[in-house]
């Protein structure tokens, strides 16, 4: 799994790629969310477009990020979840708490609304 971070306006775009599978690597993702809050970057867009495989451990870290950012007054939104990952969000009903987007500009603009 690889993590790429980039500021776009006041939104931190975090792009994951590869396999998001249980293990120490997931702690790195958790730390990205915590550091974002520490640095007052409370708006995070998580791009899952290049994630080839994900299980419940990945969902757990995303939920943890949502909680961390929401408590700090920010938000975590999802960009480009593949069909299979979107299915996991539906199965677990997490689709009811996450705003998901397929267009980056639309996703970035949503933080200003």
């Amino acid at each position: 799994m690889h993590i790429k971070q980039e500021m776009k306006g006041d939104v931190l775009v975090v792009a994951l790629s590869g396999k998001v599978i249980g293990g120490p690597e997931l702690m790195e993702v958790k730390e990205v969310f915590q550091k974002a809050v520490d640095q007052d970057k409370n708006k995070v867009l998580l791009n899952l477009g290049k994630v080839s495989w994900m299980d419940s451990s990945g969902l757990g870290v995303i939920v943890s990020g949502h909680t961390t950012l929401s408590r700090a007054g920010g938000a975590l939104r999802i960009l480009n979840a593949t069909k299979k990952i979107h299915e996991l969000f539906i199965i677990t009903k997490l689709i009811t708490i996450f705003e998901t987007f397929t267009d980056e500009k639309e996703a970035l603009d949503s933080f200003g609304e």
Binding site: K19, I21, G22, G23, P24, S52, W53, M54, D55, S56, S57, L59, G60, V61, V63, S64, H66, T67, K84, L88, I91, T92, K93, L94, T96, I97
Partner: protein, 139 residues
């Protein structure tokens, strides 16, 4: 025709999950599971293996999770055994898809496995250890 099961023995350590994922997809491919369904199959089996490691074996790498699979003409049967005798309803006694539990960071594995696979059943081995049976139908 006799179908002989093939057995994998895994230490209870998350480092084996990625190799396991690859093995399960190779098993699926050899049984002619549709390319598009291979990752769902591997997610379902990996979720159940993780549960066995955590709830049955308390993540003790000395304890083994055994996954045996048999490829029948119309289905693949996976048996996932651990060294514990935990009761799923107690260990997994909540539905993380409901109410405030929606925001828990864990506990979604069985829910996902049950939704992706057509049949997931918890039971016991003849020795009284926890066994999960997953059936994946073949077209």
């Amino acid at each position: 025709m006799t179908v002989y099961p093939i057995e994998l023995r895994l230490p209870s350590d998350v480092s084996v999950l990625e190799p396991l994922q690859l093995i399960i997809e190779a098993v699926g491919k050899s049984a002619e599971v549709e390319e598009n369904d291979l990752s769902q199959l591997s997610v379902a089996v990996v979720e159940l293996a993780k549960n066995a490691m955590e709830h049955g074996n308390k993540n003790d790498p000395e304890k083994i999770v055994t996954i045996s699979f048999s490829i029948f003409p119309n289905r693949i049967r996976f048996l996932i055994d651990d060294e514990g005798s935990w009761e799923p309803e107690k260990a997994l006694g909540f539905n993380p898809g409901e109410g405030k539990e929606l925001l828990l960071t864990r506990g979604r594995g069985v829910l996902i496995a049950r939704n992706l696979a057509k049949w997931v059943e918890f039971g016991l081995t003849p020795e009284g250890k926890t066994r999960v049976t997953l059936i994946w139908p073949l077209n």
